[in-house]
Amino acid sequence: MLSHLHITARQWKTGLKWTLYAALFLLTMVFQTVILAKHPILGLKLNPVPLLIVCVCVREGPEGGGLFALLASLFWCLSGADYGNLSVAILPAGAILSAVLCRAVLTMRFFPTFLCCLAVSLLHDSVIYALKLLLAAGRPSYYTETILPSVLLSMILMPPVYLLVKAVHKTGGSYDL
């Protein structure tokens, strides 16, 4: 059947993998806006979207993963995310740098990915905070009271996100067919 469609088994697996990544991203977005945003934990809204983008990019590399990060950030921005235009620049750049760093210096295991996710989330929220402060729309203590705890608390979602991304990556895994 695949040969009839002129699709090789390798292309089929790659297509399936990216479709699953897209579905996972959509699911994460819906989970964040429908459940996490309505039921804040300790009064804080958790943000798993940057975690997923960085995890996918680290797993798939700076090129394929980077393109996914760019498209996902753009979709996230256009879905009405607050300060989403900043996310379009920060998330892909942070994710690509994380992927390069993990491949060149660190490994793609859980702990290095965790650190990269933490760094990108922190950078993302800090830049938005700095801009808010610049526009006099926020107060200095909001960072330590809300932004920092929110980023740290969001990291509790890292293990399931990491495991899901790892599982999806395996669907496209080995091409020895």
């Binding site: 819906v30 429908v34 945003a37 980077g66 256009l78 879905s79 892909p92 750049a93």
Partner: protein, 276 residues
């Protein structure tokens, strides 16, 4: 490290930065991001399905909780309750909807000039900087930007700030971008009510520009004074605290929002009213 940082990766970062700048400029010019309506329209059914699923789970959870207490209270009724399980579940949601519509009927009879459209909340804004939610109705149901969202008790919820064919975004009164002309019901003092999000009084509203000699009491009701956007007499909140502002020449009051924003399921959008 250099060999991992390919030219294509650098191009991707450059495109990301350029896109961000482009979207920022477009947003500043047209107050909307390019393609936002398309993305929101695609997302609306997913959000709607997700929110329906969550509501069902919540109802089921409530039901189980109620059922367990009934079981402990009277074991003899267990079989009867089991048979009515489905009815109770659906009746529960219908009753809640009926109560809301009943209240709304009273509201519409009181304000015959209001034309409310009911809508369910399908998602909330995930940012700690903004208080907004998305509803499952949009321009195809007559909802447009600048329309007021209220509860069935005439309590102000917020303002429609974006609308697409099958969705609309309501920014709540808690968000600091909204400003509402208001007056204290008991004394008539007027001021401007703004959200206090990210200002140290999260979950509260702040009524500014009150006269220095104004006498404010706790639990005084604050109402809309009426404008081209907000109809007159809607309940905004209740005074919880007051003091002098930073300039010392005017007073401010902190208000508890009248609408229970944490437990909102359904809102009513006033699509038309007579501005007397």
């Amino acid at each position: 490290m250099k060999k991992h940082f390919s030219a294509r990766a650098k191009w991707l970062i450059a495109i990301a930065v350029l896109l961000a700048m482009g979207i920022t400029v477009f947003h500043a010019v047209s107050s909307r991001r390019p393609g936002q309506t398309v993305v929101q329209t695609i997302l609306a059914p997913f959000r709607s399905a997700g929110s329906t699923l969550v509501r069902q789970v919540e109802r089921y959870y409530d039901y189980v909780f109620q059922y367990e207490s009934l079981q402990a209270e009277n074991k003899a009724l267990r079989e009867q309750i089991m048979a009515m399980e489905e009815d109770v579940r659906s009746a529960d949601s219908l009753q809640r909807e009926n109560e809301r519509l009943h209240q709304l009927l009273g509201l519409v009879e009181e304000h015959r000039d209001y034309h409310p459209t009911s809508a369910y909340i399908i998602s909330w804004n995930g940012s700690n900087w903004k208080s907004a939610f998305t509803i499952d109705k949009g321009t195809s149901s007559g909802i447009e930007e600048g329309m007021v969202a209220i509860t069935e008790y005439s309590q102000v919820v917020g303002l429609v700030t974006e609308a697409g064919p099958n969705w609309a975004t309501v920014t709540t009164v808690l968000d600091s971008v909204l400003g509402i002309s208001a007056s204290v019901a008991s004394s008539g003092y007027t001021g401007k009510v703004e959200g206090a999000l990210a200002t140290g009084s999260e979950g509260l509203l702040r009524m500014n520009y009150l006269p220095t000699d104004s006498v404010l009491r706790n639990n005084d009701q604050v109402l809309t004074t009426g404008s081209t956007v907000y109809p007159r007499g809607l309940i905004i909140g209740y005074i919880t605290d007051a003091g002098f502002d930073e300039t010392g020449v005017a007073k401010y009051a902190l208000l508890r929002p009248a609408a229970d924003l944490d437990n909102l399921e359904q809102v009513f959008i006033i699509t038309h009213y007579e501005n007397n």
